[in-house]
Symmetry: C4
Subunit: 191 residues, 4 copies
């Protein structure tokens, strides 16, 4: 029951985050197709962030399947993750409206790193709480995907000073890695 | 349980989408009745999209009644549908603010087609997952309503280059077809 | 279960409606107390509408306690109510920003009437579906509160052409009548 | 069941409140790091309010674990709390955009006091309804944290006329006090 309400609140916040980003697709004044052209970078950054937020929701959903109990520390680790997720719309708009310029791309990468760290903290607290032999501990395992993501984000930030499209390619790459659903947890639960 | 959270998240996103559209009804500065007049096309397009989003929620609700299990592929097919639903407010505003001009009406039709395709993909993945003899497979059947809708959208887009009111009439026609509740699934479940 | 999802969706939409109204309390540029003064009518209209939406949520909550089954017609009667509720933020802002001028007060009253009618339609469909001897039919009874409300709204609209403060007094009166919780349904369920 | 829907509605409203605050982090026009500088006070006030709303959600969550029944009076006491929570985004933005100037800091403190009072009223009604020997009554106990918070807010408001940073330090102090999770209720339930 307690778990249920934390999931419901997280669902609510994530649903709002993923949806308010679309408000940055400001309706243009003109009514011809050309009026839509300046919106293309905004739309592209929206698509990327929509997928990222979707991945976080997906992983959060899988993660909490294996959770049995929710305590104060877990609530706050979850809140901390929601905070960084709430920063994504800002970074997304700044990046899209500035056509993937250097600093917005760097800040976007930093926000992605902050989210990854917040998620890792949440996972570690959950594992610690449930014990090393719990389903959740086995499911998370060595978390190689998480480490690869962090490396890609860091490299993406560094490459922004050379060519921001390389950064974006790395951000897209991480999204693709995670779009493959997290079967680790699914497997352990089903067994 | 797993199904429950996917429904809750979808409900959240759809509830936000259907509600933020009303933010485009910008409060006019004047305080007389004439100040409301420019809002009429915006209101009309809002009503149409409110009904469309309501239909999608309604069908989503009926569809998931027959769903037993949710896997990675289903989660992403659902996310994909939510993405295209999130494009509806933008297309709605652009169409309303430009008094149903040609390109906005065309783009609105394209978004409707994208939603219809995303819904069809979701249904097919669900049917594939549950088997050909499942309640969901029987309920969906030949999906003649879906095919008629796609034909109407396509015709609506083509007719926008002749007269956009013909397009709008077709979009309204599709809404009316779907307003008749989807008894196909209801019947199979009740039996 | 089916009822649950309709309640969840309605909760989501009503929660968003009640919250986005606060976005009309635009942050003033000045930092002294005087900068808040122009916000007072906006705040007052927000408070009134917050209470109204709260009453509708409250009554909706009580009403659905007595509901056993949800069918297509009920879903759409509910959607119809949500549509008129979604018009409240617009009418609220227009009334507040124009310091309770004649036409905005009239339109606000019309939106209140539309909501009352939509709620009545929902109740009637529910009663029809559950039968004359059902808990819900007994609980609703003669609905004298609803009739008094409609009379007050109509009188309020008429009086707006004399003095809009009389209209507002009537709107406040209706809110007070409903703030007394709807014990009719509560009683029948408990027995 | 009835409790569940009140929790769901509160979750929805609180999720929206905590998320729409981020909309005040307006995307700057420039694309260099300097463009982010004016946003720092807005971000700081957002972080503070995010934590405050998180605390209220957390406490609300713990409080309702011990609740068995929901009556009319409780619904309205909860609605009253949601109203004051909905005032937080406005006060947060005004404070952030005015770089923690005197009056915005005072108003922010008043809103915090109003929230604390609304929460206290809700707790008292719940205790009264459940009886002096209920889990909820034991869990709340003497509520020394609540009293300390009120004193800090009042002192913070007074000190705003001397130095607003002292006020902010006090507001932060209260947040820290509450970040320590409310083990009072947790203890009583577990036993």
């Amino acid at each position: 029951m307690r778990k249920g309400r934390l999931e419901a609140f997280s669902d609510g916040v994530i649903a709002i985050i993923i949806t308010i980003m679309v408000l940055e697709l400001k309706v243009p004044h003109g009514s011809d197709l050309a009026a839509l052209q300046p919106l293309i970078p905004v739309l592209l950054s929206y698509v990327l962030s929509f997928i990222y937020i979707g991945i976080y929701w997906n992983n959060h959903h899988h993660l909490f399947q294996a959770v049995h109990e929710v305590r104060g520390g877990i609530l706050w680790a979850n809140q901390h993750l929601l905070f960084w997720l709430s920063m994504v719309p800002f970074a997304t708009s700044w990046m899209g409206e500035n056509h993937f310029a250097k600093w917005p791309v760097v800040v976007y990468g930093i926000i992605l790193i902050a989210n990854a760290i917040a998620y890792t903290i949440l996972v570690r607290i959950l594992v610690k709480h449930h014990g090393k032999d719990s389903a959740i501990a086995k499911a998370v395992g060595r978390d190689s995907k998480g480490n690869i993501s962090l490396a890609c984000y860091a490299l993406g930030i560094a490459l922004a000073f050379v060519n921001t499209w390389l950064s974006c390619a790395l951000y897209v790459l991480v999204a693709i890695i995670w779009l493959v659903p997290d079967r680790r947890i699914e497997k352990v639960i089903v067994q």
